[in-house]
Amino acid sequence: MEWIDIGAVGDVPPRGSRVVATAMGDIAVFKTAAGRVFALWDKCPHKGGPLSQGIVHGDSVTCPLHNWVIGLESGEVRGPDQGCARKVEIRLDLGRVLMPGHVLRPQAA
């Protein structure tokens, strides 16, 4: 599998997020206070809100539109609500964040 370098871990602010723009829509890359990095498609399972714009706390993000809380590791919704944001696999290598090439550059059928 081809892995593409999308930037440095240091480019994402702790307790924050950045997006990677793709033809399929944005991917949100999160970094927790503890320095863990996760990636989810930037769409809340509730009403498609941009999760990248939420407040990151612990290993969760709160969607800015209606305050759904999403677990960063699995993309699953926490608390009473149900749903799951789509997860994007990442790899970390020497301080760089890598994503699978087929996710970033899908081939036309």
């Binding site: 999308i6 480019d11 307790r15 990677v20 033809a23 399929m24 503890a34 407040i55 290993d59 970033l104």
Partner: protein, 815 residues
């Protein structure tokens, strides 16, 4: 015949390896050691006490010359190996010494990383690695001289503390936001930073070195932000790089370090690599525990045992006298992990265990590290802790015991035990008052005894005394906690911020014993506001604790685009402004332009990455952010007043503009909307606003606490004043009182209901001293807040917010 074992390097790892080897077999090997350093084996970990003067070099020698002689080991000090001939199985030193081997151990260690900034070669720039470095530092360490340490990791902090003990004036410059970020979580790092500040070692985080200044020697250090720190000594402690040049030149496989398998063998089956130069399963280690484990493995493999090194979990202790800090394992957060946090603010203790599947996988301890090894042992053994879980965090002393009843502990206190330190109130005074005056609540006790009325940190003890005295008769009045991270309510938090002089979110979470490590989306924005409101000019706004709208100064819409509302002072605009708005709408294809209820214009559907450019154009036409997104001053709605209206009694438009110009930029607990009507017909609808003014012939009626949203409520009359100046003064003072007393997200009408209209009138109208004090605090805060956030971002602030990390163009998909 004995086999020939040659070791290149004589650091701690090979020293330990030899000890193991000699234990296992004395006679199998002829050992020869080449060491580039002209010394015997010493304990590098103890360099910091040598630097601080707590130990001498002799104290830290592990193996003296005799040790080698007694064991028949040939030690070549000061001879650097320059070549390995793997085919002939020989090594040769710089001076021509040649040695052949059957087995070779490369233990070349690592070299300190030197940041190649301008000036890095000047005399006075040192690294921190060996005794030579320590000697160079000591030579420069005259009392009162200034030193800058680059790097707030383990070594950098030890160096800083050591130099400080030698009387130097020390500053630590650290690139990351928190100290020792690889070993500590943010709360523990914060405590550490406080401790260093207490020792008058100044810490600058998020600081990047631009250059080292000086002609013939160091005279200072310049940071990226332009700050210059004068100094005579610069210590670089920014990390290490495995020394692999020798191995690489000899054709041995090298990645980041010298690649070894689980037997610590390199790509050559007769050559081992050991210590900081080795790379095992992708990891390079810089701490001593894993190096010792590697050393044991090599010794066992050498004598033909089945041995394998399988990587290490590491723990760290900072060797600075008086700082107790322990960390080990993995303490990051994740979904299937839980944490147990214990904070004892009065003792400065923070303990955090990270639990996964009933096992400890991470430990961070600060202030009390006695149980560090005990926790770490459980971690390494993977012990199931479900049995002891309730008492686990209290450590070994309480392990397996029955949980202590905290009320019983308070009952056992003698009558003269001090409960409230602030006011010097002892236990019997409180219990007597409860009995004599039939007190039933914390507030009663505070009113009658003053206990817990100051800083409030004894509130828990006083509550337990109420329980003891009243039994079930005590009903703690249920304070709604701020969120699940704490038991404290908003009022307690605000009071404690003042009482304890808390000035940052990490400090607050430690002092007030937060139950999560970094809060949640509910408490963080509230805390950020409270600190901002309490410490104008001092508190550093925490962007990541703000809701997105306040972080990017625009309003997020359902599709993820933003809306932009420029200020229109008092609702008055001009042809030039309108033209600029129209141009912006065209230029950025903004789909919707709408007039708002607050008398201004909303541009809806702006793409996030366009925001700075949109603002730039609006700024150019003289417009600033309307703060339509803020828990802060929003709009001042006006009618045309005496300027045009045949019924107008005063210049309501003019007053509205004045108020808006004085009050914009202010952050408040919730949004604040004002209106000024020029006559009682009230065309500006001032009587349903947070604060409203109705102009009359004799002056100004000032109203407040109206609502026209979820609730509909007419305003209350605060007072009548005769002049415009008095009206402005009242309104600013009222706003400040609200800023200081309001709970986060509590609009003015709810605040007024909670504290009482009477108390507000008392503070603002009747007591002119209090009014003046409020007014002054408001005006002082405004000196820091009236900066246009749009212009700041046009100038480049928070640029990362508005640009994707990386973009993959659409065209790629269509190929």
């Amino acid at each position: 015949m004995k086999k020939k074992l040659v070791i290149v390097g004589n650091g701690m790892a090979p020293g330990r390896m030899l000890e193991h080897l000699l234990e296992l077999s004395c006679d199998d090997f002829d050992v020869t050691i080449f060491n580039a350093e002209p010394r015997v084996n010493y304990n590098r970990l103890m360099l910091s006490p040598v630097l601080s003067g707590e130990k001498t070099y002799e104290d830290i020698i592990t193996h003296g010359d005799d040790w080698y002689a007694e064991r028949g080991i040939a030690l070549h000090k000061g001879r650097k190996i320059e070549n390995i001939d793997c085919a002939a199985k020989t090594v040769s030193a710089a001076d021509g010494t040649l040695a052949s081997y059957d087995k070779l151990v490369i233990a070349t260690g690592s070299v300190p990383f030197v940041i190649p900034v301008p000036g890095h070669q000047l005399p006075g720039v040192v690294t921190y690695r060996d005794l030579d470095d320590v000697e160079k530092m000591l030579a420069a360490a005259t009392p009162g001289a200034k030193a800058v340490v680059i790097g707030g990791g383990l070594l950098g902090l030890e160096a800083a503390a050591g130099l400080k003990m030698r009387g130097m004036d020390v500053t630590v410059v650290h690139l990351m936001p928190t100290l020792m970020e690889r070993q500590l979580d943010a709360p523990a790092a914060h405590l550490l930073e406080q401790e260093f500040e207490r020792r008058h070692i100044s810490i600058r985080t998020k600081s990047n070195t631009h250059s080292i200044l000086g002609e013939s020697k160091v005279t200072g250090l310049k940071l990226e932000d332009g700050t210059e720190l004068p100094c005579e000594l610069v210590v670089m402690a920014v990390g290490i790089r495995p020394s692999t040049a020798l191995a690489k030149a000899s054709g041995i496989t090298v990645n980041r370090g010298i690649v070894v398998n689980d037997q610590m063998l390199t790509s050559d089956p007769d050559i081992f690599a050991l210590g900081e130069c080795a790379e095992h399963r992708g990891s390079v280690y810089g701490l001593v525990a894993p190096l010792y484990e590697m050393a044991r493995t090599i010794a066992e493999v050498l004598v033909g045992k089945q041995a394998a090194y399988s990587g290490s979990v590491m723990s760290t202790k900072l060797k600075v006298t008086g700082v107790d800090l322990f960390s080990g394992g993995d303490f990051a957060e994740a979904k299937d992990r839980e944490e147990i946090v214990l904070r004892d603010a009065s003792r400065g203790v923070y303990k955090r265990l990270v639990i996964q599947g009933n096992k400890i996988i991470g430990v961070v301890l600060y202030g009390d590290t006695a149980d560090g090894p005990w926790f770490f042992d459980k971690l390494k053994k993977g012990e199931d802790i479900s049995e002891d879980r309730d008492m686990l965090i209290f450590g070994q002393a309480y392990a397996g015991g029955t949980p202590l009843d905290p009320t019983a502990a308070v009952a056992a206190l003698p009558p003269d035990a001090e409960i409230c330190g602030c006011n010097g109130i002892c236990k019997s005074k409180i219990t007597d008052a409860i009995a004599a005056k039939e007190l039933t609540s914390i507030d009663d006790v505070r009113a009658h005894t003053k206990a817990s009325a100051s800083c409030g940190s004894c509130t828990g003890l006083v509550e337990k005394l109420l329980v003891l005295s009243l039994g079930d008769g005590y009903q703690p009045n249920a304070v709604q906690p701020m969120c699940k991270c704490t038991d404290l309510g908003h009022a307690d938090v605000r009071r404690l911020i003042v009482a304890k002089q808390i000035k940052s979110i990490p400090a607050l979470m430690q002092e007030l014993e937060w139950q999560t490590s970094c809060g949640c989306a509910k408490c963080r924005p509230a805390l950020n506001y409270y600190l901002l409101a309490e410490w104008p000019g001092e508190y550093q706004d925490d962007n990541q604790s703000r809701f997105i709208n306040e972080r990017v100064h625009a309003n997020i819409q359902k599709d993820g685009t933003y809306s932009v509302v420029p200020r229109m002072w008092g609702g008055v605009t001009s042809a030039r402004e309108l033209r600029a708005i129209a141009d912006v709408a065209d230029k950025f294809s903004i789909p919707t332009v709408k007039v708002t209820g607050g008398q201004r214009i909303d541009l809806l559907g702006v793409k996030k990455e366009d925001l700075p450019a949109v603002w730039s154009d609006l700024n150019a036409a003289g417009m600033v952010s309307g703060a339509a997104y803020a828990k802060g001053l929003r709009t001042v709605k006006t009618c045309v007043g005496s300027e045009w209206c045949r019924f107008g009694t005063q210049d309501s438009t003019g007053l509205g503009i004045k108020l808006e110009k004085l009050m914009w930029g202010s952050w408040t607990p919730a949004k604040v909307k004002l209106a000024v009507s020029g006559c009682p017909r009230n065309c500006a609808e001032a009587t349903c606003k947070d604060i409203g003014v109705i102009c009359v012939d004799s002056g100004y009626d000032i109203h407040f606490a109206g609502a026209a949203g979820l609730d509909i409520k007419g305003t209350e009359l605060l007072c009548h004043v005769n002049t415009e100046e008095e009206a402005i003064e009242m309104i600013e003072a009222l706003t400040q009182l609200y800023r200081e007393q309001g709970h986060y997200l509590e609009r003015i009408y709810k605040w007024a209901k909670r504290v009482g209209i009477g108390s507000i009138r008392q503070n603002i109208v009747e007591d002119s001293d209090k009014r003046r004090a409020c007014l002054e605090r408001f005006q002082y805060a405004q000196t820091f807040l009236q900066v246009d956030p749009w212009a700041e971002r046009v100038a480049g602030k928070d640029a990362h917010e508005f640009a994707p990390m990386r973009a993959f163009p659409l065209a790629m998909a269509a190929e």
